[in-house]
């Protein structure tokens, strides 16, 4: 599996660390909403199909990436920096499904 890093280009999956479901929303640190914290820590979207997820290029430039990958075929339909394009990636996923 190759993941395209915006800095480094297409690189082998062994250079990356998987950080899981990219749809999770971390509550504000001061939040006392237990349900929101529980959801953030324990609940996962686990789709068979396109999955919006976070990877880190830990064996390269160390950037955090947002990747949309199909969990049935392992095909990657988009990848980019996690910091800027949350909304764009989510939008792409929503319009796809």
């Amino acid at each position: 599996m190759l993941i395209t890093c915006p800095y480094c280009g297409p690189r082998d999956v062994i250079e990356f660390t998987y950080q899981g479901d990219g749809n999770r929303q971390r509550p504000q640190p001061s939040s006392q909403d237990l349900d929101a914290w529980n959801a953030y820590v324990y609940d996962r979207l686990n789709p068979a199909g396109d999955h919006n997820e976070i990877w880190q290029h830990s064996g390269g430039c160390r950037a955090h990436l947002r990747v949309v990958r199909n969990t049935l075929t392992h095909e990657i339909s988009s990848s980019g920096f996690a910091r800027g394009d949350h909304k764009a990636a989510r939008h792409r996923l929503e319009t796809k499904s």
């Binding site: 609940d43 996962r44 979207l45 068979a48 997820e53 969990t71």
Partner: protein, 419 residues
């Protein structure tokens, strides 16, 4: 029930082995059942078997989307052990171990359970201390555990590199002598036959495509072979838990589906007559009765529903094998395959009523489901029949994550790929 005996073997030998009954029927689904079990793997079949045997509930259908035993029950590396640290895990898996010890008799089907022991190797003093602690915890609950010295390990597995110049020298190990392996296909077939003979309908090539509801309550399923109603609908679908729960309208679960690979080599003369685990990585190996070395390692490490793995893990697992057994460098690998594991947030399973009315859930087996097959079915059948958990599965709830009652044997936290 003793359909297989020395006498029946002899009788059928004289008649050209033409009169054996099929091990299970191929019935068409009825319009309704008392209980529908979704998933014709080890856990689903054993659930149906114990529903019929222990609770007298025989109006049961097991729905399997493919053919019987095509999922994880035929894809695992067949290890059976109960060497856990935490009491709720130890009690449950030890109950399973005791059921394994009588399973062939109970089913009148030889599951080839072979108690050859399971040895965890320690490579650092801290790890050896940790094993001593786990061994003590096991013995405290009546489970067998022995610490082994390097000399004893060398005698048990002469092929192992126990020299000080090994990449990770071995300092000792923790042995559970009653652990072992079983023939996984026979487990599926034995349970299927036992359930079928008690009146359970096993319906293959029947995929669930949705749930029938009356308000919140689940009242049946729609399938590729039509609608089937039931008073109770039980899920035992392992890696497909996320997909099936989505059909019921539940999008988020404390579960990720990951792919785990397994490997087998060409047949060798007997070389490893125990189950061995490597302590400096994640690697386990045993030898099948046919002679092939059966082994595996870590998950591929990212969500996957593909029943196949990727090459980096193949590379890693082979290097781990050679770190332990340099002499196996020229042995050829025959086959590799993948199975989809339902990894929970604490590495422990879920056997519970709900989460919807009329629904019962058995999932979250991570990659330890095979050894649990008898107890999982036994506890799940109890939970379905009585609408409450048995003491053995009472800790394995779905809401434990939100109530601070996680059962995290490895102490890893909510990162499923690391359990």
């Amino acid at each position: 029930m003793a359909e297989y005996s020395a006498l029946s073997l002899l009788k059928n030998a004289f008649t050209g082995n033409k009169d054996w009954k099929p091990a299970w029927r191929k019935p068409d689904p009825k319009a309704s059942y008392d209980v529908i079990v979704i998933g014709g793997g080890g856990h689903g079949l054993s659930t149906a078997y114990y529903l019929a045997k222990e609770h007298g509930i025989t109006n049961v259908a097991v729905l399997e989307k493919g053919w019987l035993g095509s999922g994880n029950v035929g894809r695992n590396t067949t290890a059976v052990r109960s060497n856990y640290l935490l009491p709720s895990n130890t009690r449950f898996y030890e109950h399973s171990m005791k059921m394994w010890e009588n399973l062939s008799h109970d089913l009148n089907y030889n599951v080839m359970f072979s108690q050859r022991g399971c040895l965890n190797l320690a490579h650092t003093p801290a790890q050896f201390d940790d094993y001593a602690r786990r061994g003590n915890a096991m013995r405290h609950l009546g489970v067998d555990a022995e610490l082994m010295t390097v000399a004893e390990i060398k005698r048990l597995v002469p092929a192992l590199d126990v020299s000080g110049s090994a990449r990770f020298p071995i300092l000792g190990g923790l042995m559970q002598p009653r652990a072992g392996s079983a023939r996984h296909d026979a487990v599926a077939w034995g349970y299927a036959r036992g359930a079928d003979r008690r009146g359970v309908d096993i319906i293959e090539n029947c995929e669930v495509t949705g749930f029938l509801r009356n308000g919140d309550r689940i009242t049946g399923v729609s399938t590729t072979r039509g609608e089937i109603r039931a008073k109770k609908v039980a899920l035992a679908v392992a890696g497909s838990t996320g997909r099936v729960m989505q059909l019921a309208g539940i999008d988020k679960m404390p579960i990720e589906s990951h792919v785990l690979q397994a490997f087998v080599t060409e047949s060798l003369k007997p070389i490893i007559d125990t189950i061995l685990t490597f302590g400096m990585g994640h690697f386990y190996i045993s030898q099948s009765d046919k002679g092939g070395l059966v082994y595996g390692g870590d998950l591929d490490g990212y969500n996957s529903y593909a029943q196949r793995g990727s090459l980096p893990i193949v590379d890693e697992v082979m290097s781990e094998m050679l770190a332990l057994f340099p002499g196996l460098a020229r042995v050829r690998m025959l086959r590799s395959w993948g199975g989809v594991c339902d990894m929970t947030m604490d590495g422990s399973p879920i056997i519970t009523t709900g989460p919807l009315p009329g629904m019962y859930l058995n999932c979250g087996w991570c990659y330890g489901g095979f050894k649990a097959t008898p107890a999982s079915g036994w506890c799940f059948a109890w939970t379905i029949a009585k609408d409450e958990p048995h003491d053995f599965n009472a800790p394995f709830t779905l809401d434990r994550f939100y109530r601070g009652l996680v059962i995290d044997d490895k102490g890893q936290g909510a990162t499923p790929r690391l359990h």
